[in-house]
């Protein structure tokens, strides 16, 4: 079935600004996405009180309109013909078939507002179908994981860690592959429902232990590309984090393996601070993110022009989303070598607060008696 949004809008250049929960995700125009790379349009935000469409013309001469429908901001890039539009000839040529004039825009917005509930219901239905299919995959991976763990439990050793170490290499490979798949499934959970990043209760994490474990899991994949994973520094601090935290080092390690140069070292450096915080730095050698793109690499769908490996542009967005849910932010720093042009060290740095996120345990409220049968009749 055709996407109803595309049926109503022949100009598929709508970029939804806001949380993933608004249910709209139609990419920007190819030109904006792949050739412009100034991301200037993403900086433009109308004031909170704006109710009507707000027009804006970027430096490239493309018009952008931002409109608020209910609580969602909808950004339509580069195709609006208004008096201020002084788009370059190349752009006009590329976009000629997609020109949208203000009266058309108004008609489209009215049509979209009218179909929005139906559209959201449709998106919801499709997402549920995908989630059901994923559930079966999760169950299968769960079964493989449990079987691998049963084999591991028969090995010598007192703790589970010792038993894993004592297991034959093929069992370890199956086990670690299941763990990577499990992390990938957790990413899809957060993508479909960002609230998952804050499900449960923050609990005492040994961040050093988590990263060490992930390095072991990703080691083989890195070795296949002649890349070495190392953990430097040390951390004994335990910090309070949600279960979702594990996704962050997983994404950063996976990205570093994918995008760094062959025969290089991917380094994770950790340091405890006196106030209980932990500073962590993931660094790898390769093409640096161009300066103009650095402010946008954590935005949804944005991929640095320095990367060649395939990807969705969602990894860093999700990592940042989870970081914020856990009370901190990831920052990017480039350290050029000075002799190799655009090459150098890409650093992804964050500081985990000692008590992240501020979680004050409040005893839950008792509101029913033991004899209540409200649910079961």
């Amino acid at each position: 079935m055709e996407d109803p949004l595309l049926v109503f809008c022949p100009y598929p250049t709508i970029h939804s600004d806001g949380s993933l929960m608004d249910g709209i995700n139609v990419p920007q125009s190819k030109y904006c996405r792949e050739k412009c790379r100034t991301y200037e349009c993403l900086k433009f935000k109308p004031g909170d009180k704006e109710k009507t469409p707000v027009f804006y013309t970027c430096a490239k001469g493309f018009s952008v309109v931002v409109v608020k429908i209910e609580e969602s901001l909808i950004r339509i890039n580069g195709v609006i013909e208004v008096s201020t539009n002084k788009a370059s000839k190349i752009f006009k040529k590329e976009q000629i078939s997609r020109k949208l004039k203000p009266p058309e825009l108004e008609r489209w917005l009215n049509a979209f507002s009218a179909i929005r509930p139906e559209y959201e219901r449709y998106v919801d239905e499709k997402a549920k179908e995908a989630v059901h299919a994923l559930h079966d995959i999760k169950s299968l991976i769960g079964s493989v994981l449990t079987t691998a763990e049963q084999c591991i439990s028969e090995q010598k050793g007192k703790t589970i860690d010792e038993k894993i170490e004592a297991s034959p290499p093929h069992i370890q490979t199956i086990y670690h592959s299941c763990e990577i798949l499990q992390s990938l499934l957790q990413i899809t959970d957060i993508l479909t429902n960002p609230a998952v990043a804050q499900y449960g209760t923050p609990w005492a994490f040994s961040v050093h232990g988590v990263i060490l474990k992930l390095i072991k899991i990703h080691e083989n994949k890195a070795l296949l590309q002649n890349k070495k994973l190392t953990l430097r520094g040390h951390s004994i601090n335990k910090v309070s984090l949600y279960n979702s935290f594990i996704i962050i080092p997983h994404i950063l390690l996976d990205n570093a393996i994918k995008h760094s140069d062959r025969d290089t070292e991917i380094r994770v450096w950790m340091e405890d601070k006196d106030n209980g915080e932990i500073k962590i730095d993931f660094s790898s050698f390769g093409s640096l993110v161009p300066e103009t793109e650095r402010d946008f690499i954590f935005q949804r769908g944005v991929r640095g022009s320095n990367v060649r490996a395939k990807g969705s542009g969602l990894g860093l967005y999700i990592a940042q989303l989870v970081a914020k849910a856990n009370g901190f932010e990831i920052s990017y720093r480039a350290k050029p070598t000075g002799i190799l042009g655009d090459k150098g060290y890409n650093h992804f740095i964050f500081t985990v607060p000692a008590s992240a996120p501020a979680h004050v345990y409040k005893p839950p409220v008792c509101t029913a008696t033991l004899s209540t049968r409200s649910v079961y009749g």
Binding site: T146, Q150, I152, Q198, G200, W203, S374
Partner: protein, 215 residues
């Protein structure tokens, strides 16, 4: 000045391995293969398995210290639409001190967010045994404690309208029971705080405290 003993000072210092053995855990999941029973049982955990909610009264009475609850595919006979969410909501409403872990492969529906947030912990499917061990150990350390149960019991008493004097009186009864004295907690609560709505639930939480102190 007369020295009053507080219930949180009555807790026994049991080694972690002993607490692991004594903590009763039930996993309610229609798929047995997604939880690492064998590995965790081998590590000393007492874990039962139910393919569905087979005895709701047992859960209501707080027989299990930790309930690991699947969200889809269980509790259909009780609530066909909300399944595990309805069980979670019901048990938490009844006894907020009950430790419940939502274990699910279906976290998508935004309408269910508030109910997922009722759970003490959320564990996505599948999750390896080593992570389960860390999560259960953390729950035993932070939730299966006199402090947690007493904080919840105090709050429940306050919500039921008991004043500070009555709460202190009930705490004294708990201390007496924890030290081996014969106390009918339910009756003591009614006697000290008057007829309150949640007396049975509150007494059930008190029983957990006494059981922990008696270990």
């Amino acid at each position: 000045m007369f020295w009053r003993k507080h219930i949180i000072n009555c807790k026994p210092a049991l080694p972690a391995t002993e607490m692991v053995k004594r903590t009763r855990i039930v996993v309610i999941d229609d798929e047995k293969t997604t939880f690492p029973f064998e590995v965790l049982q081998q590590q000393g955990y007492s874990i039962d398995y139910w393919p569905d909610v087979k005895d709701i009264a047992k859960l209501e009475k707080g027989f299990y210290d930790i309930i690991i609850l699947d969200i889809g595919g269980i509790g259909r006979e009780l609530d066909a639409t909300n399944e595990g969410i309805a069980v979670l909501k019901h048990l938490k409403k009844l006894n907020p001190a009950q430790v419940i872990v939502a274990f699910s492969g279906q976290s998508y529906e935004s309408a269910k967010i508030p109910f997922f947030q009722l759970a003490d912990q959320y564990v996505p499917k599948p999750t390896p045994a080593i992570t389960w061990k860390e999560i259960i150990d953390d729950l035993i350390k932070t939730r299966i404690t006199v402090e947690h149960y007493w904080a919840t019991m105090r709050q429940a008493l306050k919500d039921a309208g008991a004043n500070e004097k009555a709460i202190k009186g009930i705490e004294d009864s708990l201390v007496k029971a924890a030290e081996g004295g014969r106390v009918n907690l339910s009756r003591a609560i009614q006697k000290i705080a008057g007829p309150i709505e949640n007396a049975t639930t509150i007494a059930a939480i008190g029983a957990k405290i006494i059981a922990l102190c008696g270990l």
